[in-house]
Amino acid sequence: MTRLVHRLALTFLAGIAAAAGCSSSNTYETKNARPNAIEFDSKISNPFLKGKVDVTSCYVGQADGLLRVQANLVNESAGNALYMYKFTWYDSSGLKIGASTDAWTRRELNGGAQGEITALAPTRATVDWRLEIRPWDR
């Protein structure tokens, strides 16, 4: 009886793992792609989310004199991750710029996949930024 229960449980778990694996992605890219990432600091208060959506590197550039930021993401889990992100921008005095720019944007990242989120600063006075990521369940 116990053996039957174990076998059933194992079949069930294997089924879940197979179903999750079916939706995950395979990725191919240049070796040592995207060098020159900037250093960044992080504060993780949701380790479960980090397991599904994590920032691996960040890049900054300029477009029309505006600060441009790209965060590269990875989903190390087998299942899809629904998340939302928001950039907040600051001037050289550390003051927040433009309340009208801080909306959450919703995204999905396949299991095992890599992704990018990009944003453009609202003004030329912007010198610094902060990125927040949180789960989205609908």
């Binding site: 477009a63 029309d64 004199g65 505006l66 441009r68 939302m84 009208s100 720019t101 909306a103 959450w104 944007t105 919703r106 990009t118 944003a119 453009l120 609202p122 003004t123 030329r124 949180r134 789960p135 989205w136 369940d137 609908r138």
Partner: protein, 200 residues
């Protein structure tokens, strides 16, 4: 107390309790996790469109050859979806506001189809009105002084619908293009992120 009186009293008591328990409205972050997702276009979708289109426009560099500020007008805004009331002003207004920052672009309010101000033309007629100070009329009204735009902005909201075995998918995107009014050439064209909605 008769049985019917007891029954009516119970109903009244229950409805009073139900109304007391109803959840009062509260303020939320309109793009945050509590924001609802519908089969049509939501506020979050429109905010995402304005951000993605602004980013596309500013990273393209098509404004570089023009003297700053570049003068623009909004020519046409067309809704080609089956949704009757899409708030395109919410998207366009944010794009305009983002482009105007740092004096990159200025929009005229005298021409086009968005954020017009008829008072500019109305004020040009004050020269014949004895009620107004004529020395101020000459100085402050647009008598041969209104700015002519360099570029015009056009946009369309597009929708594509699919259904299979009771599952419906709706895809929405915003197409935008900018035309040089002197040459007639389209100098920029882009699409917003596509918003896909699935309903079972």
């Amino acid at each position: 107390m008769t049985r019917s009186t007891r029954f009516v009293s119970s109903i009244v008591l229950l409805s009073l309790l139900a109304s007391a328990c109803s959840v009062p409205p509260k303020r939320i972050d309109p793009t945050g996790p509590e924001a609802i997702t519908t089969a049509q276009l939501d506020y979050s979708d429109l905010r995402e469109w304005s951000d993605s289109l602004t980013q596309e426009m500013l990273t393209d560099g098509f404004l570089d050859p023009y003297a700053k500020p570049v003068i623009m007008q909004v020519s046409q805004v067309e809704n080609k979806t089956s949704i009757s009331d899409i708030n395109t002003e919410m998207v366009l207004g944010r794009i305009r506001s983002a482009l105007r920052r740092d004096n990159r672009v200025r929009f005229v309010a005298t021409l086009g189809s968005d954020a017009r101000d008829e008072s500019v033309r109305e004020n040009t007629a004050l020269g014949n009105d004895p009620m107004f100070d004529q020395s101020q009329v000459a100085e402050r009204t647009a008598q041969g002084t209104a700015t002519v735009p360099n570029l015009s902005v056009n946009c369309q909201v597009l929708g594509q619908y699919e259904a299979i075995k009771g599952v419906r998918q709706r895809n929405y995107e915003m197409r935008m293009w900018v035309v040089d009014l002197r040459s007639g050439e389209t100098v920029w064209e882009g699409f917003s992120n596509t918003v896909g909605k699935l309903q079972r």
